[in-house]
């Protein structure tokens, strides 16, 4: 459990004249947010366990520019994008995996026309591939038979039509996957996207995350699974607001797998 994480940087790899199989793009939330850092570590534990040859950019990584772009600041976005692309291209990066659907969407869809062409995967897609290739095995362990509902992140689901990868992983845990009444392409937003994470909501009669948490609670879950650090925060706050934090855990799919494996 307390085994030291192996997190090589691209700089170290290059110094040794090596190229990793994949670059792990950690993202701002994954680097700095206390809750999201746990997701980052859980994912690294799985990568270490599966002996994946990966590296991070470390201090050379910078915000993808997603929140700036969604806020309307195209200048700042493109400045960030061009800077990042310079770094990524200098390291000749081919494949990127990230635990953040916002980074995923931006890197995959919005970087190409600015000169950044990479094969970009969300971590749930990457883990599913590992599973398929037999490099990773998942057993239910503590999650066997547990009621788990999955909240679709907008930027993974609707934005990029990835609905199945996270679900396949949850099912591998021998858990009971229960869908909310609005799920997949009709899944309700957690309320964080479009730079909302960084500001107060406009006047209304409810917070979006409370509405979504209520939908999740209708399924009587033991765990609310998420695939995005921002959704995770929003749903965690929602569960706290409903005073259910003792009974219901909000966990990233990577954390589910890492915990099942007792990593």
């Amino acid at each position: 459990m307390s085994e030291q994480l192996k997190v090589p940087t691209m700089a170290e790899y290059t110094a040794q004249g090596k190229q990793p199989e994949v670059l792990f793009w950690v993202g701002c939330a994954g680097s700095f947010d206390d809750r999201a850092k746990k997701i980052t570590k859980a994912f690294v534990k799985i990568l270490n366990k599966a002996n994946v040859d990966f590296a991070v950019l470390g201090a050379e990584e910078s915000c993808t520019g997603d929140p700036a772009k969604r806020a309307g600041n195209e200048f700042l976005f493109q400045m960030q994008a061009v800077t990042n692309i310079e770094v990524l291209n200098a390291y000749e990066i081919k494949t990127i995996v990230t635990t953040c659907p916002h980074c995923f969407n931006t890197l995959k869809n919005e970087y190409p026309s600015l000169g950044g062409n990479y094969d970009v995967l969300h971590h749930t897609q990457f883990l599913r591939n590992l599973l398929k290739e037999g490099r990773l095995t998942i057993e239910g362990g503590q999650f066997k038979g547990k009621r788990i509902t999955f909240h679709d992140p907008c930027y993974l689901g609707r934005a990029n039509n990835v609905y199945e990868a996270p679900r396949e992983l949850i099912q591998k845990l021998d858990a009971e996957l229960i869908e909310m009444k609005s799920c997949k392409s009709r899944g309700l937003c957690c309320g964080a996207g479009g730079a909302q994470m960084f500001k107060d909501a406009e006047p209304g009669n409810k917070e979006v995350n409370i509405e979504r948490t209520e939908q999740a609670l209708e399924t009587q879950p033991e765990i609310i699974a998420a695939g995005c650090p921002f959704c995770n925060t929003m749903m965690t706050d929602g569960v706290k607001n409903k005073e259910k934090e003792g009974k219901i855990a909000v966990m990233d799919v990577a954390e589910l797998i890492a915990n099942a494996e007792d990593l």
């Binding site: 609707r158 309320g191 730079a195 909302q196 960084f198 209304g204 917070e207």
Partner: protein, 438 residues
Amino acid sequence: MMNYLPNLIFAVILVLGIGVFARNVQRLIRNIRLGKKVDASDNKAQRWKNMAKIALGQSKMVVRPIAGLLHIVVYVGFVIINIEVLEIILDGLFGTHRMFLEPLGPAVYGFLIGSFEILAVLVLVAVVFFWLRRNAIKLKRFLSAEMTGWPKNDGNIILYFEVVLMCLFLTMNATDMAFQELGSGNVVSQYIAGWFSGVDENTLHIIERSAWWLHIIGILIFLNYLYFSKHLHILLAFPNTYYGRLKPKGEFNNLEAVTKEVMMMMDPNADPFAASVDDNEDEPEKFGASDVMDLNSIQLLNAYTCTECGRCTSECPANQTGKKLSPRKIMMDTRDRLEEVGKILDSNKGEFVDDGKQLLGDYVSHEELWACTSCNACVEACPVSIDPLSIIMEMRRYLVMEQSAAPMELNNMMTNIENNGAPWPYNQMDRLNWANEK
């Protein structure tokens, strides 16, 4: 000469009806062209496929099965019954009566008209349901703020229109003695004919003729009503789904004008004077949109296509939680403002004269724009491939890049990204600290 009078009157009415319609179409195209040009010449095969599936096949309508089914009935009924209009027009022009009967033969002709009659009844049934849904059952998406006044009346008027047209069609058949005697194809109208059993032949003939004339005049009026109605989607759903988004919904376009400037700033070898030469050539580019002319033509086509069904708004997280934002209202505002701009052009010989108004502020408030989570639920929900989110984003771009009018917290977030490469005030050098934290 007297014998040709009806034909002549008919021809005049027809030319008038179609002429006014053509003028409306012209105005529509002119207004849509006020938008910026977009290149949508890519992926033709996929675009045709989308049009066939979404507009013709109504694939998005069945997400809500009851409304979807009823809508398909009205749509199919309406389109197919209009085949009959072709015969009416030819009859009217040549002074003939049911000119398709002879070449097709009673069996085929009867089958056709019989199907039309059944469809007419189905349309009537569906229309009653639609009316109840709109007026008696308090369906939330028909009660929003933007659905009062004209939009609400428009929704009902078209239903009454359809009732009248279908009834005229059935009456016309029921009172047509020759057609009833033929006994083929009068599947529905034979029962209605019974109601007229006491009426003498002459009166019957007058009723039949009146129904015939009113039917065709009704259709011409309907055609010209479209331009002012949400029912423009009957026509525009086709081009709109053709031009609909093909890229992943999460992909927002990268502004090329910005790319040029960014590349210039990043390139140490760039000639600083090259930029100013460029600037002299054309006006400095405006970033984002404050009015309809700043949007692109597809976005303006979107606005005219909107059916005001509210599927987008009912899926919108902001709207569901009581915020002012309604993606449907964004589309309706865009159309209203575009119409207003069009009227200015009409009354000033095609020149735009600033009326001191614009889409941003006068129609769409800042509060609405900042409530959007960019979740794409509206885009996903729209049955005719409209993208309200892209219009919201263009206006946010204007607010931020031209006016520096973002909410304070967002300015803080952006300052952080600028200074330390993260939306929070952490040092970029500390990005890997997590790896060594317990």
